[in-house]
């Protein structure tokens, strides 16, 4: 038994194709990858916006507003 389908190298390499493990599970692996990708966007975007809110709440006082108003 082998996860790659190769149990010996006593073969003609011309007859060998894919050698990665768990062949046949590509679609499931793709779903896992897509979920990880989308999850990453959502979670990091939320975190970034929360950090901005925190900065504005903590440090965005009257002087900062004054500076923004006088921006010319």
């Amino acid at each position: 038994m082998s996860t790659t389908g190769i149990t010996t190298w006593a073969v003609d390499l011309a007859d060998v194709g894919a050698v990665y493990p768990f062949q046949g599970w590509e679609f499931i692996m793709l779903i896992v990858g897509l979920v990880f990708w989308i999850w990453w966007h959502v979670t990091t975007f939320r975190s970034e916006l929360a950090q901005h809110d925190h900065k504005v709440t903590t440090y965005g006082g009257a002087k900062l507003s004054e500076a923004l108003d006088s921006n010319d």
């Binding site: 390499l13 011309a14 060998v16 194709g17 894919a18 050698v19 990665y20 062949q23 590509e26 679609f27 793709l30 990858g33 897509l34 990708w37 990453w40 966007h41 990091t44 975007f45 970034e48 916006l49 950090q51 901005h52 925190h54 900065k55 504005v56 440090y59 965005g60 900062l64 507003s65 500076a67 923004l68 921006n71 010319d72």
Partner: protein, 455 residues
Amino acid sequence: MGSNIDAITTIFTEFYYWLTVALMFLIHVGFCMYEVGASRRRNHMHTLLKNSMLIPLVTITFFFFGWWIYWAFPNGPFIYQGQGLILDMAAGNAPTSETMGTNLSDRITGVFWAAFLLFSWTAASIVSGSVIERINSGAFWILAVMIGSGAWIIDAAWGWHYDGWMVKMLGYHDAYASGVIHGIAGGFALGVLVVLGPRLGKFSSSGKARDILPHNPWLVCIGLFLIYTGFWGFYVACNVPLIAPDGIGGEITGETWTATTIYLTPTTLGAITVNFLMSLSGGMLMGYFVSKGNAFWTYSGGLAGIITASAGNDLYHPIQAMVIGAVGTYLAYKLHYWVENKFKIDDAVGAVAVHGYAGFIGLVICGFVLWGHPSSPYAGYAAINPLGQLVGAIIMFGVLGFLPGWIGALVLHKFGLLRIPKEVELMGLDFATDREEAAAAEEVRDALKQIAVSK
């Protein structure tokens, strides 16, 4: 690999593309240095990470769907004679295909995928520089995936593929990606910038543009130098290194093997090496002249020179490449400041000009200089011509560049996700990090005081 000559050819090709990937990595190092150097001190780390994180995001999405698009979309779909997706060609390049994993019967798909991926990074990275210091990183990363694994690879299927409908119907020729990378990325960046708006303080209340100087001009210039270096890999990756006429299967007769462009039209590595250097030189000379010795525009002029000549650098005479590079750089420089003042567009690093305008201009010039040259070794394709190149430039810069960038940015803006709050922009994106460093320093000082007291 039936014979030893087949094996050597295959493994040479595999190694050739692998080497281009390693070289092209330097483009990204250069872009990061350039962007960080151009940003102000309070935004360094966010600027760096905004760009760096497009690497994994574009990589995984290019694996998930970008590469499949390239092989499925050459007909449009439904633009060329009503033909749809080319599913049989795309199947071997889908993320679920056996040839995308370790496979002893296919040594080329992986390195070819990687070479295209590095182009994808470049497209997204070009956009990154223009929007620094005020875009939400999360918003940029969505836009990066849109161009890196979507818009650019559609344009590659259409106009940078031996079977693309633009090549067949328009005679579109863009050997080293004036339009398919640079034009589209510049157009996309402009679309985003229109919605994003300028940095605080870029324009005075009277509308006069202020020059926000890079905090580290030296870092900017070294970054551009590294982009030049990586560009060698970019150029070489655009070629097929070695192919026999029967491998092409077109109208070429005889048995002479050759290097070709992506369209499988013959060229030589020697020719593109000379033309690369001559167009770089034309651009640098003009950049220095037109900017009156400004280092940033001199180096950027070198890039603009290469980019302008790239569409036809497989065939130009070196002096043509030099002149075309110089003309493109002059026009890109003038257009940058005209657009900045007229439309109040704040392109922080001049990316729209250096990549977008230069790429567009290069495509149009190529249509005249290479007028009548066959765009393909196959019968029935339109020859290279000025109208086809102009339409192609509009598709690259406008239809697949500006439009998706503008729409994507508009959607993000509608949901309040595009731009950082003004307070944060004023404080700087790294503000909290700076405070943490200050707090850590204070802790060390307190600890030292305690040690002194205890003594």
